[in-house]
């Protein structure tokens, strides 16, 4: 199985105080207070020591699998990219498949510069970004979220288990952008009828399977 190369764009413990000050400067005191209270457990010496959700495991542990599929390229962010992010060719050459982004890292100048340099390249490439926004930032939201998700997981036990443990596609949408993203994602998975990719697929299917499996985006029809 091919490896998935990833890079973690997260804070180190030594950078948390800078972000806290920046948040206060931008009048986000509640978030700054939350960061101040949790920075000791959230961050470590290296970027991969980052614990995205308090009282959980580090991102390094999150990405462990047997056999090990995920391969870290985070070292390049520290060793090869300067504060101005003047040369990011090393990241494009490595063809990083996944950028895992800590929301607080966006308040660091280096990562703002890196985003400016990499934005277009990542958007048109096969790379994927995963922004992590810990829902515990707001206590009220956390409580509401936990209650509602508990209802969902109670009704759709197997589906929720498949989603949370087996990687089955069953997206939890929190904001409208999540839903739009999911809509477009599904379209990319089911190519348009008559398009060049679909034509090739049809030929392959006809040769090996004898019949066409999918012809259009699946729709939910009223019973």
């Amino acid at each position: 199985m091919a490896n998935i190369t990833y890079a973690v764009i997260a804070l180190k413990q030594s950078e948390a105080a800078i972000v806290e000050a920046e948040l206060r400067k931008q009048k986000m005191d509640t978030v700054a207070d939350w960061l101040a209270a949790n920075k000791g457990t959230l961050y470590g010496k290296t970027r991969e020591d980052w614990t995205p959700f308090p009282s959980d495991v580090s991102i390094r542990e999150f990405l462990k699998s047997e056999p090990q599929i995920y391969r870290s390229a985070t070292a390049l962010i520290d060793d090869e990219i300067d504060d101005e992010a003047s040369d990011v060719t090393v990241l494009t050459e490595e063809e990083i498949d996944l950028y895992i982004i800590d929301i607080f890292a966006l308040f660091i100048k280096k990562f703002q510069n890196l985003a400016l340099q990499m934005d277009s390249a990542v958007a048109i490439s096969q790379s994927t970004c995963c922004l992590i926004l810990p829902y515990q930032i707001s206590k009220e939201f956390q409580q509401t979220h936990d209650l509602l998700i508990a209802s969902y997981s109670k009704s759709w036990k197997a589906v929720y288990k498949a989603y949370s443990q087996k990687g089955s596609l069953s997206r939890v949408v929190v904001v409208p952008d999540d839903l739009r993203n999911f809509r477009q994602y599904l379209i990319t998975q089911f190519p348009e009828e008559g398009g060049p990719v679909a034509a090739t697929l049809k030929k392959v299917q006809a040769k090996f399977l004898g019949q066409i499996v999918h012809t259009e985006v699946p729709r939910i029809t009223p019973g």
Binding site: R71, A73, A75, L76, D79, E94
Partner: protein, 297 residues
């Protein structure tokens, strides 16, 4: 993913085995066997006849001792994976055989009435001559011992108390594979340079090594010898995991960064690489152990 396990009690046994050759206790038995001829009176040394030649006989007696030592050394070389303690172990075994043979001769002399043991006059001339006689007997029995070793132990044999020939064959295979690992291009960035073709043989060899360790471990008998391989099997497993961390494809920078964390000297690392090294110190230790294995030519 990476972890080092230590075998505390096994460490002591392993060390004793490496110093005293415990896995080949039969060697001592076969070495002393010819000395038993003294007990039945077949072999006898009468020092009275050669009393004047003592200054010449003693140095000449070194020769059978040396031959026995070299034969034991050659056997131990193939019965142990590494050359650690090889000379010391061979010398200890040779000395034990010689002392035991001399003691048997002395005891035979007492039993047959040739010697009378008196503790109060232990250091007088007759006692000294009896000790020399027994020593010379021990040496002369080594001539037979070395002949026995030449005929039996220099060829693969299935004798009790010494490692089986099948095990020794597999150990030889293991040694050769580990030698290839030690001479791989991966140890220096100058020879590796992030070029996958330079380490593809190493990747294959490490897979074979893992299978070899499993095969050796499943082999019946030779428990002490198998136990001594466990730390090396663990180092090899960690080393293999470290090699699998080196990307097969992609750019050179990531390969170099990963390589530096696993192999480079501490002084050449950046701050982040040093932190990664701290996290992976078991891996670095395992690579150092593999490189330091004294496998001989």
């Amino acid at each position: 993913m990476f972890s080092l396990r230590f075998w505390k009690s096994a460490d002591v046994k392993n060390h004793l085995d490496r110093v005293f050759g415990l896995r080949a206790w039969g060697l001592l038995l076969y070495g002393i066997l010819p000395a038993n001829l003294a007990l039945i009176g077949t072999l006898e040394v009468k020092l009275g006849k050669v009393d004047n030649l003592l200054p010449y006989i003693i140095p000449v007696s070194i020769l059978p001792i040396l031959i026995t030592y070299l034969l034991i050394l050659s056997r131990y070389r193939s019965w142990y994976l590494t050359r650690d303690f090889l000379k010391r172990r061979s010398a200890i075994t040779t000395a034990l055989i010689l002392v035991s043979a001399s003691l048997i001769s002395g005891a035979a002399g007492i039993l047959q009435g040739r010697y009378i043991l008196s503790i109060s006059n232990f250091w007088d001339r007759p006692h000294f001559m009896a000790i020399i006689e027994s020593f010379l007997f021990g040496v002369s029995s080594l001539v037979i011992t070395s002949t026995l070793f030449m005929s039996l132990l220099t060829k693969p044999s299935e004798l009790p108390g010494i490692p089986s020939s099948k095990f020794v064959d597999q150990l030889t295979e293991l040694r050769a594979a580990l030698r290839l690992v030690q001479t791989s291009n991966v140890w220096s960035w100058a020879t590796y340079g992030g070029d996958e073709t330079k380490i593809s043989t190493l990747r294959t060899k490490l897979t074979e090594l893992s299978a070899l360790f499993t095969k050796l471990d499943s082999y019946p008998g030779d428990k002490l010898a198998k136990d001594s391989l466990k730390p090396i099997a663990e180092y090899t497993r960690i080393f293999s995991a470290a090699i699998s961390e080196l990307p097969v494809d992609g750019g050179v920078k990531l390969k170099q960064s990963t390589w530096k964390v696993i192999f480079d000297a501490p002084g050449n690392l950046t701050e982040n690489q040093s932190l990664e090294r701290d996290r992976l110190k078991d891996v670095f230790q395992a690579t150092q152990q593999i490189q330091a294995l004294s496998l001989g030519e």
